[in-house]
Symmetry: D5
Subunit: 149 residues, 10 copies
Amino acid sequence: MTPIMSKSDAADLVVAARVRKGLTWAQIADQLGAPVVWVTAALLGQHPMTPEQAQTVCGLLDLDDAVAESLRSQPARGTEPAIMNDPTIYRFVEALSVYGPALKELIHEEFGDGIMSAINFKIDIARRPDPDGDRVVVTFDGKFLDYRW
Amino acid sequence: MTPIMSKSDAADLVVAARVRKGLTWAQIADQLGAPVVWVTAALLGQHPMTPEQAQTVCGLLDLDDAVAESLRSQPARGTEPAIMNDPTIYRFVEALSVYGPALKELIHEEFGDGIMSAINFKIDIARRPDPDGDRVVVTFDGKFLDYRW
Amino acid sequence: MTPIMSKSDAADLVVAARVRKGLTWAQIADQLGAPVVWVTAALLGQHPMTPEQAQTVCGLLDLDDAVAESLRSQPARGTEPAIMNDPTIYRFVEALSVYGPALKELIHEEFGDGIMSAINFKIDIARRPDPDGDRVVVTFDGKFLDYRW
Amino acid sequence: MTPIMSKSDAADLVVAARVRKGLTWAQIADQLGAPVVWVTAALLGQHPMTPEQAQTVCGLLDLDDAVAESLRSQPARGTEPAIMNDPTIYRFVEALSVYGPALKELIHEEFGDGIMSAINFKIDIARRPDPDGDRVVVTFDGKFLDYRW
Amino acid sequence: MTPIMSKSDAADLVVAARVRKGLTWAQIADQLGAPVVWVTAALLGQHPMTPEQAQTVCGLLDLDDAVAESLRSQPARGTEPAIMNDPTIYRFVEALSVYGPALKELIHEEFGDGIMSAINFKIDIARRPDPDGDRVVVTFDGKFLDYRW
Amino acid sequence: MTPIMSKSDAADLVVAARVRKGLTWAQIADQLGAPVVWVTAALLGQHPMTPEQAQTVCGLLDLDDAVAESLRSQPARGTEPAIMNDPTIYRFVEALSVYGPALKELIHEEFGDGIMSAINFKIDIARRPDPDGDRVVVTFDGKFLDYRW
Amino acid sequence: MTPIMSKSDAADLVVAARVRKGLTWAQIADQLGAPVVWVTAALLGQHPMTPEQAQTVCGLLDLDDAVAESLRSQPARGTEPAIMNDPTIYRFVEALSVYGPALKELIHEEFGDGIMSAINFKIDIARRPDPDGDRVVVTFDGKFLDYRW
Amino acid sequence: MTPIMSKSDAADLVVAARVRKGLTWAQIADQLGAPVVWVTAALLGQHPMTPEQAQTVCGLLDLDDAVAESLRSQPARGTEPAIMNDPTIYRFVEALSVYGPALKELIHEEFGDGIMSAINFKIDIARRPDPDGDRVVVTFDGKFLDYRW
Amino acid sequence: MTPIMSKSDAADLVVAARVRKGLTWAQIADQLGAPVVWVTAALLGQHPMTPEQAQTVCGLLDLDDAVAESLRSQPARGTEPAIMNDPTIYRFVEALSVYGPALKELIHEEFGDGIMSAINFKIDIARRPDPDGDRVVVTFDGKFLDYRW
Amino acid sequence: MTPIMSKSDAADLVVAARVRKGLTWAQIADQLGAPVVWVTAALLGQHPMTPEQAQTVCGLLDLDDAVAESLRSQPARGTEPAIMNDPTIYRFVEALSVYGPALKELIHEEFGDGIMSAINFKIDIARRPDPDGDRVVVTFDGKFLDYRW
């Protein structure tokens, strides 16, 4: 009996195979017919895949069954603090530190006392051409949940 | 000589006046002709206002010059960690913890090595009606900056 | 213009009045016709009250309008870490540290990939007589939310 | 001489065997005749098992004696902070952050100065059907202990 | 309406009165007919006193009713980390850091899986004459509680 | 040349051998003619043993010379914070958090300005039968050291 | 007798007077005939000023002697962590996180084992026009100190 | 399939090869025709290299293709806190702690509300001869970015 | 009844009076006939003074009885972490970080298993002229205490 | 190509060889003709050795070239926090916590605004016989560096 390969080891193998085969995350997502942020997050270890999804990815990337088993398994979600300080990720953290309390005020004003769900939730990223330099546009889209006793 | 009123004290007075006068953040933003998230963040202490903006707000809310002086002053930006754990704000933090590394991968894939600026940046919030429950849609929109030596 | 009284100052006054008048939390909750854990949490600063609820409480406890205004205001929720180490609260923290991963496994087994909502949520406490010593029974009751993209 | 297998390694093997054999935690608990939260927690490393329990589990899951020895051994209890931030577990942590001080007030009101034991304690989880979405119901049930010098 | 005086303010006044009147903690405990560690801890804010105890202390120390009301109130227990680093307290912390795991092993060996209660618990301090220098002897005495589901 | 086996690896082997041979810590201490808390702490890596003690233990437990060399070596003392949160150890930590400042007051009152040594120090644990449930009695016994310039 | 005004209070008054009089830091530095970064840092509380410097500043800004006394006093240097997260300061922190180990390698390569002094040290900031957007140029200039026993 | 060699392992091999071949970082940078701080940082794992750069380095240092693949890969940037406390790096951290708020004031005074980019950014180090001891001169040079909604 | 003035407030008044009267710490120590580091530390709040010492200091500095009462009171010792990062203090912290493990090895080699007491302890500071720049010489001098059960 | 052996692994081998050969740190220092604290710190990984020193040590201790290469390499200096809590090291940390601010005052009084260098620095340890128990005497000796712009 061996343990299930860790999500982190599986992600390392997925990344290595993806790079060596010259595939983009978008191409993998296309093959799966699933949204690209979801697919990327899942392959990095944040969501369990269905057996079919795991099989498709491993076929595409020539990865063996142990990886597929890991991709199907239930994750413990979250990212270690050191990684959150990477500049590309930190800018989002900084934006929340600057605008978080304003978002809270406006959610309460528009919807009442409650939250944007991070579970019934999707997130997308797009490139918007701009003559002053193209822009990264990231959309958080979650169901409003009101405090309801 | 007295110190400039702190941004935090000014924000407390703005909030009190806003509530007592029954004004929304959106109405204040309309009066200023400026985006509502920016206005809310500025009034909570995250951006300096121009003298005209500060005057307009204080006129609208019957706040005295000391508040206007504080609103014009340059802030030290950021939010204390305890506030980031408020559930309404924390859901955004959690979403970054789950999707941050995926966003990083996809920014690099689409744009190359760099970041979404948090300075040349705007953020918006909207309500999207949905039969399964309306949704909070928050859009981060920042200029891509590539690592350029 | 004065700031809105902080939730913490309002809670201190509510506690002082409650003790001096010899009222229980349960009696206050009865007057409000609302669940006792919700009422206690709200009066300690974790939920906004309706104007009617705030008025009723302040009438009952002889507290002035500034307290009522504070009770109506929107809170930043959460408790500082030092208080979470009080022994009576810490035992719940410890129980989560011991049983949290098991609860996670069993939620996934029974419901699938998702969470118990802490927003569409209620909590109750009861005393259960037991010949070996009465027992504290606390029930967390939240809607299951599945990860749904 | 080799060290006793760590509780964490044993848990990884139990989880792998459970998944590959298609057994639920509930089925394992049934075989042991013990409560399912206790069994799950014990197999994840939070409680020592009796030799008979350990033997039953290893027989059921085809795990060897080294795993059984580990399951019998005395644990150092607790969960690392990173895991407590997994969304499924964090909701319980958040609920305590919001309702912990209220529970403390109500325990003192109903029972006097003391705590709910986390040792003479049991915890259960159930699914409650609800037309608005089924609910996760978790019950903490511990003996009241009064401060007694 | 004024808030109840904080336990910390009450303790400051008790300490000041005790010093100025030249009373020892032991003398105060004698007047109360209660154990000296319990009395000292209670007056420093870690236990609620009965109305009679609070009255006796305030009479003895010429403190007014606001102090007595504070002494009767229910505390949030615990000591801030900075104080735990005071050398006189830190030596106990260090001893636990060196001997804590050994105590755990020996509690399990002698009593089985469980803990020493910190609630059904008393602690005493004594001076033991010794020709090589008198010794501080501190006794922790708590009921054993076994993990009992 | 190989490094000296770490204290932690040696402790793991001692624990494994002790369990498999069915020996108690008390029996090992008897063989060494040394106090049981000291012996347990030393075998868990908190004190160096003499060559004779190390040899006796390794003979008794059938452990090889590499373990004995490790047991003789000088430790870096202390326990990692995660272990201090194990419930059996944490109750002592909590007791210090509640009673530490009182102990400080009483040491100063009885002995003057100084500390209980944690070096010229011994600690013992005993079981005291009690009809309401047996009690864990732990005695800290250290030489008083006064601040002496 | 009153305490010396804190450096932080003095800095708040300097900032308020500077803003209200419409003076720049550069103009104040010119009046003092001292480098602008040094002057700004000193007025924010990081360096003691000579009596003449303190007098000149207070004359220029109409601040009273209590401020001058504070400006002359010896500071405890450093900035609280929350301020270091302000985006304008954080970019320097981030740059050190990315390039710190490289600077260390190159100092050792060019100078040998040692450090750049932060005491025998000056720092300057300049604006460098650039058609792609002007640049902030900050120069750290410290004496090399080699590890010398 | 094997994972891509970690940046940290690649850096260890680069450092070992560089030392054993007696090459300086400056010589490697010369071979690459790239700035020495950039090259050093990239080889320590903070920047991805182009395939040509990675090939050149590995040829120069006799390192195999697995290293080159790692050097080409996208990093998670940043340095662990323990390394930031190395004295040679810490002096820069200390300088920021002393002068950071002054730099912030002067950037705002000269450029307006904004930041020095750490992305459109270069950094250089030089030795400046000085009769009182040569000096380490480090220049941070980043594009000014104004807060622009 | 008023609380005893805090050690920190008393230290602020001592420092203000010392500066305004132009006295050095050494002169105060001379008046007390006590070692200068001890006196300075005591006046900064780290040691209780005898009534005579407190009286002498307050006479010398024209401070009132409330200060003397505070100087006599028992301190909670230690310095907050932010102050330990002041560069003048931090260099000692850094030296311990570099040489602490070496000191430990050499204490064990020369004295056996034990510590240098920080209680039966004195510390002195002196200036040693040196043609290359005068030197700060700080001597820690504490009784060796062996681990003695 | 293999990485250079880590300083920590080299130190483990030096310690093992030293113990097994029955050599003291002082004897090794004598062989090197270098101060014993410097030698011990260097062998524990805090200073690079010259090739001759590294060779001498490895010859004396029968360690191979890989160790010598590691001893010559440039360290990242500092000690992990857990080790700083070892009682033998912690007493120095505690002494700084008690006397650090006093040392700062006295350095400023005697030398002016500046620091004791931790780079142009030496440290020594000696045993001073004393009838009341021998004493550990540790001398920090660093060049004074004044803040000099």
